[in-house]
Structures are given as C-alpha cells and as structure tokens.
C-alpha cells in the first residue's frame, strides 16, 4: 500500500523507550525474585511441615481387634465387635443430582436418620464437606441391607461410606466387673485385667497408604492390622455368678437397714484353688455395668467422697453421708472421679484393713513352726490380759477359763493368742509375717494391688502391746488377696503360690502363645504344722464352741476361721467381719474368703454376717465343683437343696452304718440344742446365766447392762482396747487406700 510508512525506521527515542520498558520489566522481576526468596526464608519450615502433614491424609489407619477375655471354660467375659460409622461425602453426593433423593430415602429407611437435618447440612456444605458422621457404632446386621442396596448395578446411592472400628463388649454386664476392668474410648485398658494385660490384648494397627513407585505412578498398599491376643482366665463364670448372686442378696437384705446406703460399705469374696493359686472367683460389691461404666445410679448407696477422696461428713449429725438418688447428681468434677474410682476399684486387692481373728491361724502356725509352742499348751483366759501397761480384752470379757491352743482358735480367744505370740516373741512374729507375705504385694496379675509395706510393724518398732494385738489381727493391715494366699499355704501343706488369674494367652486364631503355670514361691510352714492348723480350723466350724458353725453348708463339713475386727477409730461400733474357710476338710481344694466391711446393722460385730454368705455360696458351689457330700442331710436341708435344684450326692450308707451314725447324730443334736441349759458346764461361762433380751436375742449382763452373745460370751459392740490404739503409721486402720506400684496413693481419672 503506502510505501513511506513501510520504510519508516525504528527511531532512537523509540529505542530509548524500549530500554525503559526493559528496565521496568527487570525491576518487576527483581521484586518477584525477592518475593520468592521471602517466602522460602520466612515460611519455608512451616510450609515444609504443612506439606508433610497433608501427606498423612492419604493414609488410613486400620484398627486392630483387641483380644478377648475368656473364663476357664472358654466362655466370653469381654470381647471386641466390629462396628461401623456411617459417613456422608457431600461433595461426591452433590456431583450427581439424581442420586440425592434415593440416597436420603435409603438413609431414612435403613438407619432411621432424621434426613431433614442432614439435608440442611448437605445443602450448606455440598462444596466442601467430605466427612460428616451420620451414625455411630452400628453392628454389621444394621448396615448389610444398605450395603446390598449400594452395590446393586443400577444403584442410585452415592457419597455414603463406612468406617470400621471395634467396640468393647462385656456380655455379662456387671459379671466380674472389678476383675475385668474396662477400656476407655481409645481402646486402652483401665483397671483389672484390661489394664494389667493391656499390652497382650492390644494388637498393632494396620495402615493403608499410597506412594509413588519407581515409574512415578501411584500405588496403594495395605498393611493389615495385627489383632491382639486373648487371655484365658482361671475365673469360672458360673462360680463367679454364684458369688455375685449371694453378695447381691446380702446387700438387698441389709440395704437401708440401719442407715441409708448399701448393705455394707464393701463386700468382698475370693475363691481360690489352694493347690495352684488360681483364682476361681473374685467379686466385690458395689458392682457396676461394664457396658455403661459411667452410670451414676451405680454409685447410689456408697459413702460419698469429696474432691480429695475423703468421706463426706454431715456437719449437723457428724455421720457419714451416703449417696442417694437425691444427691447423686450433685457430685461433680474431681469428687465424681473419686467416687467412680471407689466404685471401679477392686476391693479384694486394693483395700487394706485390719483382718481380725482370721489371722489367728497364722499366729499359731508361726509359733509352732518356730518351735515356741508345741500346739498342746493350755492358757488361762480371764477375759483380759495386761500387756505393756495396756489392758487388752478378749471378746468374752468374762473369761473362757483354761483353753488349749486349739480351743483358743475354736473360740477365737484373744488372750490365748496373746500368750502364744508372747511365747514366740517379736522377732519370730515379724519374721513370719514376712514369710506369709504380709506387707508385700502378692503380685497377682491385676492392676491396682495395694502396697501394705507401711501398714505392718517391723521388728524394730513393734512393742509388746502391738505384738499382743497383732496376734489376733488388730494393729496391722492387709488385703483380702494377701490373707487368702497366706491362709492357703497353711492348709495345703505349706506351699505359698502366687495368686493369679490368667492361665493361658492365645492368639487371634486360637493357638496357644503362652501357658502360665502356677508359681510356687516358697514353703511357709511344714506339712505337720499344716495338718495341725487344719484340725484346729475344722473345730471352728464343727466344734461345740466353734464361732463358725453357721458357715457349714448342707451336706458338707468345712473348716475355717471367723474374723471380727474393730475399725479405727476404736469404740465407734464399726467392724469388719469375715470368714476364711476351705473345703473339703480332709484334703482342702478350695479356699473361700468373705469380708463384710461394716454391715448396715446396729450391732456389726457378728461374724455370722460373713459365715451366712459363705454358707450360701458353698451350698451351691461345692456341688458345682464336683466335691461330694459327706454328711447326712436333715429334712430342712433337703428341702433347701431341692429348692436350689442341687443334686444330693450324700453317699448311700448301709443300714448298720446308718444305725451307728444315727445315735451319734442324735447325741450331737442334743448337745448343740441343749447348750443354753448347760449353764454349769464351766466355771467361766457365767454369761450363760444371763437373761435373754427377747428383741435382739442377746443375753443381758445384769451388772453393766451390755448385750452379750449367749453362746460365746462376747460383748456386743465391745472393744479389745480401753484406750486409743497406737499404730506405726497414721494411715493404719481401715482406711480405704489404694496404692500404685510406687506406693503413692492412686488417684485415677480415666479419660
């Protein structure tokens, strides 16, 4: 076209402007380079972490299945079941308009979800939300229909997926609650076996993750979870249920009896195989539902604790406050955890108390074993004994007269025991306490066993008066498991077994990983001494003056020892009563120990509260354990057994034998029945002349007006001591204290 403009050159001013342009561009580049540098310098580390943390989103943790807890016969006590969480991916669902309605309809029909609420959420978040929980912990049965609908070829359901997890289930609810313990939300064991065997029960979680392979393509890899091992316990679920039934029955009988609250502050029972240390049943009351551990209703009836775990005292009356339906909801914060801790802990291993007279066989056994006495000595009981400037009383303040050591055990004579202990001396006594494992942990395989080292005397700080009281089980503390383990060694020939609850560890496919054999720790006494103790303890139940007669179940003869211990402070009419027995008498197989901590009655110092429970339990348990009956049954006993549908295994006897025994039995019955009439039997038995109070059934001392047991002469509500007790530790006494491994007071606050 026009030639001139085509030939125009690019002029010098234009070249200058081009340089200006280039400089501007250069400056902008410099700015951007600085910006890049600043980002790297200021945020480099932060962004590096950010990038790495984002990577984790790509990997998914696969939960492991926690191992089960089985009873000795393979019955499930605790198990984990796979449950499903229903998740909505709003972004995915909103990508297909046609899928929205069918998906909501299926959610409503299959899971009963309130779709109006979900729809609101979906409409507001459909561009961003990929994870919204619709329902939690559904078992597979509840979701299988939905999954079938989802996987149909022309299914219009979209954006719903399931996340797997495991939920801990306890089929027995409260069965063996204190032994089993429970798990917190993140599958960590709390209390009992769940805590002690947490590492065994826990598996290794698996992972599913993506990574770039050498060719730069994405691969997904799954490392499957490794399930935890299961444990087989020595607990027999049937026996455990029997024990819990009768503890509950006792509670129901005495609940709100003398004051509001449970039938006793604590009830505990252990049944142990004396020849292996295996625990066959272990229970305490109050109990709780393992599937609903935080139900406040379970706290009702317990003594109320404050933020520091001390008992709440009513300011007006000075009485302890018990938890009732009215005040249960006022407990909050730390106090609530203190009360829960009191509920969740295992009384049988966590609480230390003064054992009382059940320790008398230990005193006698140690005295015989160290040669201080032969076992055939006699001592004169005048109702009290002055030791080290203190006047220490017997239960029967009128005096039992001249008693052999065996009679001292039978009648539970304190004075007799004090003489025995004096004979052996402080050094031997404390030495044998150590041999019997008093003050040491039994190392039972349960979490939360109390340490009692500071709750017993040593040879250095035990004086004659303390030796005297310790001889009948006052002044030092022990736990139930310590006492039954020590006592078992007295009656099995002297073998001290470490008590244990788990006999086998099996893996998820059922193969045995580990067998846990009984652990024989030491020989406490000789077989001869053991035999002597057995014969003495048999008299407690069978003897004329035996304190434990009421513990004998129909059809059997058992042995044992009663205990009635005063709690601290003395003379406030609070007692821990107990019975520690065994069966069968000729060859003890099992030991049973029942402790009733402060029964809810006016007069607590009566071992019958414990012996009756033992009788009830053994009446069912001995036939269940396959121990044959040896004794003739009265009509009343037959009726009782029939009602319980227990098979009577009394051996059928020939007519001759029947005739012989018939006369013997007649004599025996006559003797027992005629006891009150034989007031002139001994010079010491003055209490048998007292009048009987028609209301309580106790004899009344005309001089003091005190109630007296008409059979044993023991003063009701009496104290062995006239003055305050000196103890080696201010905690000494029946304080409910729980110690952890380090000896510090446990204050558990499970998440």
């Amino acid at each position: 076209m026009n030639e001139p403009y085509q030939q125009r050159p690019f002029t010098t001013p234009m070249k200058k402007k081009l340089v200006v342009l280039f400089v501007i561009v250069l400056l902008l580049f410099v700015c951007l380079i600085y910006r890049l540098y600043a980002i790297t310098r200021d945020n480099g580390q932060q962004y590096k972490k950010q990038v790495l943390s984002q990577q984790k989103y790509d990997s998914v943790t696969i939960p492991f299945r926690r191992g089960s807890i089985l009873d000795t016969n393979g019955n499930i006590l605790a198990t984990s079941e796979k449950v499903y969480t229903v998740i909505l991916d709003s972004v995915l669902l909103s990508s297909d308009e046609d899928a929205i309605e069918p998906t909501f309809a299926a959610l409503r029909s299959e899971f009963g979800i309130d779709t109006a609420k979900v729809r609101d959420y979906f409409e507001q978040n459909k561009e961003t939300s990929r994870y919204y929980i619709l329902a939690k912990k559904l078992p597979y049965e509840n979701i299988q229909n939905f999954i079938a609908m989802q996987s149909e070829p022309d299914s219009k359901i979209k954006g719903i997926w399931f996340e797997e997890e495991y939920q801990r289930l306890y089929p027995g609810n409260s069965l063996a609650c204190d032994v089993l313990g429970f798990t917190t939300a993140d599958d960590v064991g709390s209390y009992g076996l769940e805590e002690y065997y947490n590492d065994v029960l826990s598996g290794t979680p698996g992972r599913e993750y993506g990574f770039m392979n050498e060719e730069g393509t994405l691969e997904r890899t799954t490392i499957s979870a490794e399930d935890g091992n299961s444990i087989v316990t020595t607990i027999d679920a049937n026996l455990q249920a029997m024990v819990e039934k009768y503890l509950k029955k006792f509670n129901d009988e005495y609940e709100n009896n003398f004051h509001t609250g449970n039938g006793a502050n604590n009830l505990g029972c252990i049944i142990m195989d004396v020849n292996s240390g295996e625990i066959l049943a272990m229970a305490s009351y109050p109990d709780f539902n393992l599937n609903d551990t935080r139900n406040k209703e379970a706290l009702i009836g317990m003594t109320m604790l404050d933020d520091n775990g001390n008992k709440v005292i009513d300011e007006e009356t000075g009485d302890k406050v018990y938890i009732t339906e009215e005040n249960v909801n006022t407990i909050e914060g730390d106090a609530l955890y203190q009360n829960y801790n009191a509920l969740w802990k295992n009384f049988c291993i966590s609480d230390a108390y003064e054992p009382g007279s059940v320790s008398k066989p230990l005193t006698v056994a140690s005295a015989i074993e160290c040669g201080a006495i032969k076992g055939n000595e006699s001592y004169n009981c005048e109702g009290k004994l002055e030791v080290g400037g203190h006047e220490i009383k017997c239960h029967n303040t009128y005096g039992d007269g001249i008693l052999t050591v065996a009679e001292g055990i039978e009648r539970s004579c304190n004075v007799c025991m004090m003489y025995v202990a004096q004979a052996e001396g402080v050094k031997n006594f404390t030495n044998f306490q150590h041999i019997f494992n008093m003050g040491l942990k039994t190392n039972i395989d349960l979490a939360g066993e109390a340490r009692t080292a500071s709750l017993i005397y040593s040879a250095d700080n035990m004086r004659s008066s303390e030796l005297a009281t310790c001889s009948f089980g006052q002044g030092y503390n022990c736990t139930m498991i310590q006492m039954i383990a020590a006592f078992s060694s007295l009656i099995n020939g002297g073998y001290y077994y470490e008590p244990h609850l788990v006999k086998k560890v099996i893996n998820s496919s059922g193969a045995t990983v580990e067998n846990i054999e009984p652990r024989l720790l030491k020989q406490t006494i000789s077989r001869d001494t053991s035999d002597m103790i057995i014969s003495m303890c048999n008299n407690v139940v069978t003897g004329e003056h035996g304190t434990g007669k009421t513990a004998r179940p129909a059809g059997y003869i058992i042995g044992g020892k009663t205990g009635t211990a005063e709690t601290l402070p003395r003379k406030n009419n609070e007692y821990v009563v107990s019975f520690l027995g065994y069966a069968p008498v000729d060859d003890p197989q099992i030991a049973i120990y029942v402790v009733v901590d402060r029964p809810n009655v006016r007069y607590q110092d009566d071992a019958k509260f414990a012996t009756r429970i033992v009788r009830s339990i053994l009446t069912e348990a001995l036939p269940y354990l396959g121990i044959f009956m040896t004794e003739e049954l009265s009509d009343k006993e037959r009726a009782e057994l029939d009602e319980l549908k227990i098979e009577i295994t009394t051996p059928v006897k020939t007519e001759e034998e029947l005739l012989e025994e018939g006369t013997e039995n007649a004599e025996n019955t006559e003797e027992i029945q005629s006891v009150p009439d034989e007031a002139s039997q001994g010079p010491g038995e003055i209490w048998k002349t007292f009048e009987i109070d028609p209301e309580t059934g106790y004899a009344v001392d005309p001089n003091t007006g005190e109630f007296v047991d008409p059979e044993t002469g023991a003063t009701i509500g009496g104290s062995f001591s006239d003055e305050g007790e000196e103890t080696p530790d201010e905690n000494n006494g029946i304080k409910e204290i729980t110690y952890d491994e380090n000896g510090s007071v446990v204050e558990k606050q499970p998440r």
Binding site: R8, F10, M14, L18, L36, T40, K48, Q54
Partner: protein, 383 residues
Amino acid sequence: MADRFTLKKYSTSRFFDSTLMLTVILLIIFGLVVLYSVSSYEASVTFNDPTYYFRKQAISTVVGLVVMFVVAITPYRLWERFWGLAYIFAMGLLFLIIPFGYEANGAKRWLRFMGTSIQPAEVAKLAIIISLAHIVCRLGNAITTWKGFFIAVGSSVPMVIAIYVITRNLSSAIIVFGIAFIMCFVVSTDYKKFVLMTLFGAAVTALMVYVVVQNKGAAMGFRGERILAWLDPNAYASGKGFQTLQALYAIGSGGMFGKGIGQSMQKLGFLPEAQNDMIFSIICEELGFFGALCVIALFLMLLWRCMVTVNNATDMFGALLVVGFMGHIAIQVILNIAVVTNTIPNTGISLPFISYGGSSVVALLFEVGLVFSVQRGITVRDS
C-alpha cells in the same frame, strides 16, 4: 533442500541469533521435562497413562517448531498484508466458540477442529501483534496525539471485549490489552499519557479492592472472593484460597535448592492445575529458589535478545512485531509468577513455553519465528 540451501546461503552475511535459538530450545526442553514431572501423577490417576499430558505437549511442540521454521524463512513483511485478515480471523474464531465451543473445567474456551482443540484466545494474542504493528506504523507520528493513541489502543478493544464476554477469560483479555498498550508505549515519544493511564488504572484497582473488602461477607462474584482470598489466603483455605495456599506451600517447602526433580509432593493431587497455571510453584518445590532463578534468567535472556533484535531491525513494522512478542512474554511471565507467589489475586495465566497448552506453544513459536524472520532482515556489517 531448498530451505537448507537458503539458510546456508545467508548464514555468512545475514544475522542469525544463535543465543536466542539456544534460549528457546532450552526453554522448550526444560518445559517438557518439568511438565512430565508435574503431570505424570495426575495423568496416571485421571487417564491411567502418566505420559498423557507430556505426549500431547510434545506433539504440539513439534508442530510449533515446524511453524516457527516456516515463519522464520518467510519474509515478515508478507504478514503485513494480512493484518486485517488476521484480526478478522481471530475474532471469527472467538465468535465460533458461542455455537461450537466446548467446555472444560467449567469454562467454555475451546474449539475442536479435526481432532485437535484450539484456544482462540491464544490466536488472538498473535493476531493483535500483527495487526497492531501495522496500525501503529500507518499512524506514523499521529501516534503521539491523543486521537492517534486512542485509535491504536482502541483497535484492540473489540478483541479484548470479545475475549472477556465470550470466554469469561479476564486474564487473556488483560494480556491482549497489555500487548497493545506496550506496543503503543514504545513508539510514543512521551510518557505523560502512560503515567496518567497507569495511575488511573492503579486507582481503579485500589478502589475495587476497597469496595470488596468493605462488603466482605456480602454476596459477590467469584472475583470478589478471589480478592478476599488474596488478602488473607488462610481464612479461605478450603475455598478460593486453597490453590494459592497450596502453591505457597510448594514454594516454601522447596527451600533454596528444592527436593529434586520429580520429588514434589504437592503435585500428588494437592495443588490443582499443577501442570498449568501453577507449574512455576512446582518448579520452586523441585528445583528450589535457584531453579526458579534459572528459569527467570532464561526468560530475561529471551527478552534481552529481543531488545537487541528490535534495536537493529531494518524497519518499524519488524521492530514492532518483536516488541509485541516481548510484551507478550513479559506480561505472562510476570503475572504468572505474581499469581503463584500471591502478589496479585489469583487469575489463570500460563507460563510461556512451560505450562501445558498446545495452542499457546504453537502461537508462541509462531511469534519466535517472526523474531527470527525480522533478524534475517538485518545485515551484519563485516568487522
């Protein structure tokens, strides 16, 4: 054979810029390597073929190189004859989008022609350089007047509006306008107009930002949200600020020397459009701050060689073609890096020669061809 013969014939007497050639080849090869590294994950997930993007880009590059060669040996004055046709052709392609365009990623910006897709906006950038070079030459000294200036800049406005209205692509519209603005700037002898216009533009932008911030929370278009996300990307981390934040994470986590080529983590599905507008942040992540400096240095070398070419061009039309190319490269590189560093609000601008996009690479190599063609007009004086 004839082509080769021609090259040889003039190689001794005519100016051939081997530095420019080397720079372009380096950019292309570097671009393909980075693109493969960035896109292989996304491609294997989406297309089950890690080389999907790489192959397509490689084919486009070969086509582009052929086009570059043909354009380079064609006398550039030939294109002046087609200045009007080029403008109309580009506009026509833009309007064809209305009935025949197809959508991708929620935007209707592409035409499909014989199995290949074309982005008319890229053709428009090339067309505006050719037509405006002619218009400015023709205006001559009149360009210094306000009237002449408005005719020159105004001639790009129909195309700018067409791009924005039809494709809703603000970035391409800004680039086309920017190319026209820079070409006019260089030929005009004064500064006043440009300073005034720049100040006016800055004021309008500041006002817009102010209004958006004041109406925070009220319903506004996605551009308003992008401005808010630009000011505080963390507050919009799951929405409009997501891409920007992920880009910043990539840059920051790369450090001084990067994680090594192929080692980016952000490309694994975290950074959207990693192979496109955000490719520079992955370069930073894999090659670090120094890698980014090298890329910027290559672009600066390209611009430098263009400036040398312009200063030696035999006529104004040829010089303006090269100035247009300079403007095109400078604007896109600066805006792209500014976006990934969150210096300006997020808007989709690709990085020349490196970002994925067939139309873009062919159009760019066409422009490089023009630069070589202009250089062929320069006679080297014997030294």
